[in-house]
């Protein structure tokens, strides 16, 4: 049973690893500002689908790894992702029954809050960044949400992961 449970978790962990790879993947300068927050989107997805297994603790660990690999303030993305997971888990029952357009519309404010937290922490720590660095990912993330959700739902259905 425990081995079964562990093997179910592998697809989720793999999705986070893949998300981290997409996050550090080089992009041309013109579209780099519109790189979606893959990890935030993954946290939203898994916290919505399986809030008992993947919630704030996972989000925090993912955030710490992200901070260390990006060289941002240690704890910055951890805090923001933690809040994202918290909001998602609070509303997960509601979000699960939403049709895709409505769900996408509700992902937008969560991603915006995520970026606002990063912006706010940067402000306190005295890091300057152009505003496109905050708005770009929110827009692209919202637009790509239906695609990512379709892929992950397929993956989840096929592997019965969780």
């Amino acid at each position: 049973m425990t081995r079964d449970r562990a093997s179910r978790r592998i697809p989720v962990i793999m999705s986070f690893v893949f998300g981290l790879m997409l996050t550090i993947m080089p992009l041309p300068d013109t579209i780099a500002a519109f790189r979606p927050d893959w990890l935030a989107m993954l946290v939203i997805f898994w916290a919505m689908q399986l809030p008992r297994t993947w919630s704030v603790g996972t989000a925090w660990i993912v955030g710490i790894v992200l901070d260390a690999s990006q060289g941002t303030l240690l704890g910055q993305h951890a805090l923001a992702l933690c809040c994202v997971a918290f909001i998602t888990v609070r509303f997960h029952l509601l979000m699960r029954v939403f049709p895709v357009p409505q769900l996408t519309a509700s992902v937008f404010p969560i991603l915006a809050i995520y970026q606002f937290l990063l912006f706010w922490i940067n402000g306190v720590a005295g890091v300057e960044a152009p505003s496109i660095a905050y708005w770009g990912p929110v827009i692209s993330g919202t637009l790509l949400w239906p695609v990512m959700m379709a892929i992950l739902s397929g993956l989840r259905y096929r592997t019965r992961s969780g």
Partner: protein
């Protein structure tokens, strides 16, 4: 992961969610506080960095593979052309080097006459830039060497044309460097023509640097080469940094509006050299006693 323990009668409720969030937020804030104040958390960072290293290698691999493929499938014809070009270039460089050797000797002699310390040549090490994006809030890059290879925080990075940046976070296997175009980067320089000292700061644009502290009547012209002055200690003196490309003197302002183009091609470097500044260290030691 932690959530799987304990069960509640209500299937929609996740146990102790609020409490866990509060604890994690508190830990995050403490981490950020200590990370921002001083570098107590470097070991944590380094160890997570080692764990992320394979990912960086995997992400970097396609680009590396592509370059390798490009090299190994190049036609004989184009390789011969390349070889010819390199040979010609080597000849030119060697010719220039001959002159340089005699100049170096002359310089040493003159310095001896002036009773100044002889300039020591800096040691350098080539590092490759990994095709990995780092901090989205700054102009930075990741290089494939770390403390294991002797890299240290603040080490200068140059390419064939000029200064590229400096190491801001030396990890065990990879390090992160900040480009001179980052808005947080400032570099003491001097005008090569007349030794006028000033500071070059990044503007956030990859092809433009600013010189905010040049007084209106200073002798600076378009086309002037700016080289590192060695003040500030991080960069050894004498490396080209930028070429002045516009000087606007505004009569009512105390400082002129001067911009410069980086000498190094910051956007398209693939290999950089790390400077182990023997000169700078010895100067420091000399000023100590």
């Amino acid at each position: 992961m932690v959530a799987s323990r304990g069960s509640s009668s209500n299937p929609g409720r996740v146990p102790a969610l609020g409490l866990r969030v509060l604890v994690l937020i508190f830990i995050s804030i403490m981490l950020m506080y200590f990370d921002n104040r001083d570098n107590h958390l470097d070991t944590v960072r380094t160890s997570i960095g080692v764990a992320v290293y394979p990912l960086r290698v995997i992400v970097d691999a396609p680009v590396r593979f592509w370059n390798w493929l490009d090299d190994s499938t190049a036609s004989r014809n184009s390789m011969e052309l390349e070889l010819a070009r390199l040979k010609a270039e080597r000849l030119l460089t060697n010719a220039r080097l001959q002159k340089f050797i005699s100049l170096e000797a002359e310089n040493a002699r003159l310095r001896a006459l002036l009773d100044a310390r002889a300039l020591v040549r800096d040691r350098a090490r080539v590092a490759e830039i990994m095709s990995v994006d780092a901090n989205p809030y700054s102009h930075s890059l990741v290089i494939n060497v770390g403390t294991q290879d002797g890299v240290f925080d603040g080490q200068a990075l140059i390419d064939a044309e000029g200064v590229v940046g400096q190491v801001i976070e030396a990890g065990l296997l990879t390090s992160q460097a900040m480009l001179i175009s980052d808005t947080e980067h400032a570099l003491p320089v001097e005008v090569n023509r007349n030794g006028l000292r000033t500071i070059v700061v990044g503007t956030g644009k990859i092809d433009e640097l600013g010189l905010p502290f040049v007084v209106n009547n200073a002798d600076i012209r378009v086309g002037d080469l700016l080289v590192t002055s060695g003040l500030g200690g991080a960069f050894p003196a004498g490396y080209p940094v930028a070429i002045v490309d516009s000087v606007t003197r505004i009569p009512q302002e105390p400082y002129a509006d001067v911009t410069a183009t980086p000498a190094a091609s910051l956007g398209q470097v693939r290999e950089v050299m790390l400077i182990f500044s023997v000169g700078a260290k010895e100067t420091e030691a000399a000023t100590d006693d």
